[in-house]
Amino acid sequence: QEEEDDDLIDITDDDNSKSEINFRDSTQGLVEPLEDIPIDTGKYDDFHTIDWLKDIQKDRQRHKRIHRDRDKSPLNKLKAAHDAWSGWLVVFLVGVGAGTCAGIIDIGASWMTDLKLGVCPQAFYLNREQCCWAENDTDQLKFNDKGCSKWHTWAELFNILGDNAGSYIINYLFYVLWGFGLATLAVSLVRAFAPYACGSGIPEIKTILSGFIIRGYLGKWTLLIKSITMMLAVSAGLSLGKEGPLVHVACCCGNIFSYLFPKYGKNEAKKREVLSAASAAGVSVAFGAPVGGVLFSLEEVSYYFPMKTLWRSFFCALVAAFVLRTINPFGTDHLVMFYVEYDTPWFFFELVPFLLLGVFGGLYGAFFIKMNLKWCKYRKTSKLGKFPVVEVITLALITAIISYPNPYTRMSSSQLIELLFNDCGPEDNFKLCNYKHNYTLMLHTGNVAASPAGPGVYESLWLLLLALIFKGVITVFTFGIKVPAGLFIPSMAVGACAGRLLGIGMEQAVYFNNDWGIFEDLCKPSTPCVNPGLYAMVGAAAALGGVTRMTVSLVVIMFELTGGLQYIVPLMVAVMTAKWVGDAFGREGIYDGHIYLNGYPYLDSKREFVHSTIASDVMRPRRADPPLSVITQEGMTVEELENLTTESSYNAYPMVVSKESQRLSGLVQRKDLTIALANARKFQEEVVSQSQVFFSNHVPRYSLPGQPSPLKLTKILDQSPFQVTDQTPMETVVEMFRKLGLRTCLVTHNGRLLGIITKKDVLRHWAMLKNQDPDSIMFH
């Protein structure tokens, strides 16, 4: 009991049980016969569902107690102030923690990524861009695999200079070896120290926020190992991003900091408020998009999202983004990740290609979800699952070997996205921007006019297409391997490639058909017309939208990400189209898909329950089952109750007034009952097996001679269980479970107890109605 809990509690709290006693009743210090026994309730077992309403009630009682005691002493006043303030303080700390983690991860990952290509011998800790920071006469270093004089590739380090086959092979070899080494290290660390650190984490966090307990999932080892291995995995060149895992890391921070405040640490429902805010902070630091982070938390992750949480999430996201910006070691002013500088307008006719990009995004999303889920299922059930380490290493080798020859896959995915998002100014001289500009006109008007593409652009087209296919396919196999793996960046890279391809196509089509009706009016020769960078942006949003099925939060993230406030309509068009097209092939996003694949008990708050079953169809006992194990209000002996708790495995027992009337009077948690009986046996010597147990207040004042003394257990009886009638439509019951966060609900008919419905019954029922295997749901 104690140790199960301790793995989550990172600070020692010795007054744990004491405060629990005080909490239940402040007057029951002494153990008396006929009096209740202190019970340490309120803890949940691993893989159990929490009871939101009871937890919130407990918090209100705690709050009331503090409020009441406030005037007793200055210390109490201070305590009350601390209590009132702690909600903001904890999210502040979480924000600082998430920002710091993100800062370290960013720096480490960017350094390690460049390690595959070479080193900066004079300052080994600098990545390529920073190594060439003050190098005069280096242009477009970022998008160029040539370094500057200070930066040495591995071939140069071995004194193989020049642009020959030898240096190419040496560099290739080192690229592959580093990829292999980093991936091996990552997967071994995950396996050895924190297996829960693998994967993206978002499906599990969604499940946890919906009220599930997974002990150790948000612990400090998970935080440490996930942060470290995230850098390693990204640097290994695997087709994965660090944005999803950053949400997990932020949630770990949220969990750890919430233990500094008993208000949050000891109350699972309240802790989830902090976790909601933490997930907002995670996205906020992942992309530098605080508002988008809040909306992501609201739309995608959170389950209960009261207004107070909205404000705190926003605060938390802002603090995190601000801390990250303050760390800002790279000297860029922009908070956001892929800052674009252009501000060119877009035209109505461009909505058609944007729509096409949306369709592409939806199709890719559907393809990705289907294939990835199939592959994950295969991994889960076949022999492949027995060799996770080998799988990761093989994948890393394959990825590295295929990636190197193509410059667009050799660079990291986020660099690729940044490159594709940018427009081609006259000062850019890498291949993608190899246009035949008319410089005289440009200097005259100050605008970069549309120009015919040069050979470099045509070469890039082929390379981009190959990159698109490669990334699109390899990500299917990568997402789900046993290292931290997000899919925001790979999906965006795929979409950005597709968008850029279409964009260049459109641009050239408009340039060469400038006399067509629609183009003539809009595209003047002297002004820029179609911006391929914008298409890449829209394509990235569409692909990500197709995969995750986010809408509003994605649009907001994208427009914060790029600073392009005026491109909200194109983004919206593409994202909505992607969602609709994707939904036509299957309604669930990749995260929901993984939730169902793993059978987490997640009661989706977005999907509507559309079946016309009623409560009596779902409740236990079923027609053929034995009758429900109930407790009567009085008359049962200690022995009978003990037998009941050992024989049946239900988590809760309804209590009736008498077996004949079956009138419902309350609900008793099994855990409470076992502890109460054990305590009574231990501390109250007069309690024997034949002692009668009274749950009501009608206890005989004195026990009759010859009869064993009675035991009173009023305190563990929950006198306000939720009840519905047997005719209640299941949609109402589902609403109750979702909105009130119930764990169990009793079913009555004309006041008589008929059965019981638990959250898992609801999930099982729903799965059955969807023709799924109901036993696939993980029920502990």
């Binding site: 480490g108 003050a134 150790g216 000297g331 005289t440």
Partner: protein, 148 residues
């Protein structure tokens, strides 16, 4: 060395192949007041008006500290993992009763007990943590009940 200074002034100018101007980025370490095209690019004023100069600051110390921190952390974790693997290997190759005896001995010696609760608590925490990792491993790698 100037190369790894924390400030720079970067001017970006358009190319103009007609006048044989292909270079377009000019970088210098100067004080902020001097970060203007006139100082950096040293061209006629007309050309300068199309350039954009930006003064940028970075913090190499932060980068250094963080990268070294990360490398050390990875090193420590790697070493620990290796030690654990070796220990596991050694322990699994000894006979079980022998191990049992050793453990009992270790727990029972009065010296160890006298050395205070700290080591014991430490050890029990480690044990608990190991058990937890085993549990996680079972869930993730063996039963594939989670995260697959």
């Amino acid at each position: 060395e100037a190369q790894f200074d924390d400030v720079r002034c970067k001017c970006v100018c358009p190319q103009d192949p007609a006048n044989n101007l292909t270079r377009n980025i000019y970088i210098k370490n100067v004080i902020p007041e001097q970060c203007s095209c006139a100082h950096i690019v040293k061209r006629e004023e007309k050309f300068c008006l199309l350039c954009e100069c930006k003064y940028e600051i970075r913090n190499t110390t932060t980068i250094k500290v963080m990268v070294i921190f990360v490398v050390c952390l990875i090193g420590v974790l790697f070493a620990y993992m290796m030690i654990m693997m070796c220990l596991d290997y050694i322990l699994s190759h000894r006979s079980t009763p022998h191990t049992q005896r050793l453990d009992d001995e270790g727990e029972m010696t009065p010296i160890a007990r006298r050395r205070g609760g700290y080591f014991q608590r430490m050890e029990s925490a480690t044990q608990r943590w190991k058990r937890q990792v085993q549990e996680q491993k079972k869930n993730v790698f063996d039963r594939h009940a989670m995260l697959s």
